[in-house]
């Protein structure tokens, strides 16, 4: 074998490793060791503190977060503070803001409306949790695998997603609930999101398609990391923001469709729900009888408030995580005082809000 000039002259190609291994750039480790506590602090900083800091300056998103937190507290602590409403607790159809024992008045059976609203919330939170986890989780897994693996698997998985996505959601839910008659709030939540994951998986796939071309993913591939490791440890963290925004949108969809379907009595009345209250008030003649008006209005106001809170929170999260807008914001707590985040400038909210 002949020795080429380039084998002897190594100054231009990085050189061959000779002698002491520690001088090689491939064997040098960082001088500063990051302790576990520091790493934790850094992670907290990026994923929790910095977003919260940005949120603090974003009044609309803050309002959304506060509303959502209010409903979470209402559903977790509320039932312990407020007694279970029973028939004939008070006089029938008491107007609101008259008797402070029943601040929101009573319904046609003398149950306190405030207490009924509070005790309906836990089941609704369970429904939201189940539905949002199901649609975001399945959508994420489907979108990441399909987008990253590509090729035939991608085509196959997206065909399934397209089929599921095309079937109109509400009629499908109605037909399924007519035959299955779900009773458990978790099952109802999943049923209400039965085809929502498909649309999300398509959105996420297009994000993954962009990420898989990034140099750090290519580096991971070059290092020979297994495909699963790349998907879980490299791709997934980068699409996490989209998953979280979708979680909020999914929550809103579950709550709106559940109240609508309970209101019309399409889902069986096994749990308390604001929609069930609307149904009972409607059947008692709230449309014609002004003394039942507050019974009918109270759940409607709550659902609008919750829906508004979720939309604002979702849009706020989008503003934080969306890289096109994030550049304007600050990335870390340390230098966040230097630059004030711009409110509402440049790009409008990119969260897609479903109209119906």
């Amino acid at each position: 074998m002949t020795v080429k000039p380039s084998d002897r002259e190594t100054s231009t190609d990085g050189g061959a490793v000779t002698g002491d291994r520690s001088t090689s750039p491939f064997h040098t480790t960082a001088d500063v060791e990051e302790t576990r506590a520091e790493r934790l602090k850094g992670t907290l900083d990026i994923y929790l503190l910095a977003p919260l800091r940005i949120l603090w300056h974003d009044k609309r998103a803050l309002f959304g977060l506060a509303t959502v937190l209010f409903f979470v507290l209402l559903g977790t602590i509320g039932p312990y503070l407020v007694e279970v409403p029973r028939s004939s607790d008070g006089p029938n159809a008491l107007a609101p803001f008259v008797n402070w024992e029943f601040p929101l008045g009573t319904d046609g059976l003398g149950k306190g409306i405030g207490a009924t609203l509070v005790h309906a919330t836990p089941a609704m939170l369970k429904m939201i949790l189940a539905g949002a986890i199901f649609s975001s989780g399945l959508g994420a897994v489907w979108g990441i695998i399909s987008g990253y693996k590509g090729g035939r698997l991608d085509r196959f998985m997206m065909s399934i997603a397209d089929v599921v996505m095309t079937i109109p959601g509400l009629p499908l839910i109605v037909v399924l609930s007519a035959v299955i008659e779900p009773r458990d709030p978790f099952v109802v939540g999943i049923l209400l999101s039965v085809n929502a994951w498909a649309g999300f998986s398509r959105v996420l796939r297009s994000q993954v398609l962009a990420i898989r071309q990034e140099s750090y993913v290519e580096a991971a591939r070059t290092m020979g990391l297994p495909v699963w490791t790349i998907m879980v440890k490299v791709v997934a963290p980068n699409v996490m923001p989209f998953v979280m925004v979708n979680f909020v949108t999914g929550a809103r969809r579950v709550i709106i469709s559940s109240v609508g379907l309970y209101f019309l009595g399409i889902l069986p009345f096994t749990t308390l729900n604001w929609g069930v209250m609307m149904n009972l008030a409607y059947d008692a003649g709230a449309m014609n009888n002004p003394k039942y008006a507050h019974w009918f209005l109270a759940p409607m106001i709550l659902i609008v408030l919750m829906s508004l809170g979720l939309i604002l929170l979702g849009q706020g999260m989008d503003r934080i995580f969306n890289p096109r807008i994030r550049a304007k914001h600050t990335k870390k707590v340390d230098d966040s005082d230097a630059a004030e985040p711009e409110e509402g400038g440049g790009t409008g909210p990119t969260t897609t809000v479903e109209g119906h």
């Binding site: 609309r60 990253y148 693996k149 590509g150 090729g151 035939r152 698997l153 991608d154 065909s159 397209d162 089929v163 095309t166 079937i167 109109p168 959601g169 509400l170 009629p171 499908l172 109605v174 037909v175 399924l176 007519a178 035959v179 299955i180 398609l209 898989r212 591939r221 495909v227 709106i256 109240v259 609508g260 209101f263 019309l264 399409i266 609307m278 409607y282 449309m287 014609n288 009918f296 409607m300 659902i303 609008v304 829906s307 508004l308 979720l310 939309i311 604002l312 849009q315 509402g344 400038g345 440049g346 790009t347 409008g348 909210p349 990119t350 897609t352 809000v353 479903e354 109209g355 119906h356």
Partner: protein, 337 residues
Amino acid sequence: MANTNYFIERTIQAFLTLICVFALTFALLRLMPGGPMAYLQARLSQSNQDMSQEQINNMVELYSSVHPSKPIHIAFFDYTTSLLTGDFGRSIWYNQDVIDILAKAMPWTIFVSAVSLFGTFTIGITLGAVMAYGEGSRFDIGSSTVAIIVTSVPFYVVAVLLLWILGYNTGIFPTGGRVNSSIDPGMNLAFIGSVLYHGALPISALVIAGFGARALSMRGNSIQILGNDYLRVARLRGLSERRIALRYVGRNAILPMYTSIMIAIGSLFGGSIILEEIFLYPGLGYYVFQSLGARDYPLLMGGFLFITIATILGIYIADLTYGLIDPRAGGDDREAF
């Protein structure tokens, strides 16, 4: 030819979806233990005491197009062929062919959906464009706030409030029905007026609940386009502002919304189950709802299939025409890992 391939692919996709939906309704009808089959058999044998099991099963097939005891693949084949030839079974409650009931109800749902879709997008696109042009102005901030609040109200809440205030309390609009039955149907002014009068509330409910989201997405799209360099080039070329607004900004901002129009058809038809029940408007959704209460499974499945087929068609048309409207669409070849 990429275009032919795309066309074939979309067509196969539409058929695949159709077959999957057939399989789903078939499975729900036939395979659910204690489900529709058992209910139909029990109901029919109660009213026809002297019939044999075989005759009852044939009756069940007559009503639901699904035979309860034939081998599954044969029953499914029979089911698919009867659906494809337009036989959706027979309604138990109305004792009419499902296709007759639904075909009569369909135009009314299409009327409400089409008018509200047109209204929603016209108002949404106009408002969104004006908001984008005055970005940051008081009008923009005010309208954005209104749009977000309006969007957060579910359409059935809008519907109930409209019906409550304008229907029951003041009596300005009717609280049910789709046309005054004493007027002769036909192309006369009174009939059309009555149709619009009865449709006004359902249509307004959909438009009020829907325009905000469209306005916000139009605003977002337009603002993104307004920052592009080619607009500067267009201005430097001395093109009129009007031409720039319509051909450069408007066209590019509306294009991404095109597919969502077609998809909105699906959700409008689906939402009709709730909307038409609130307004007692006898369209497609109203009959689906009625069939639920009466456990009229053939009508329920028929309504579901009708809505689904309409949606599949809508999306199919959107997919095929999008490439014609937006020349940038199509062409993706990626390597697999």
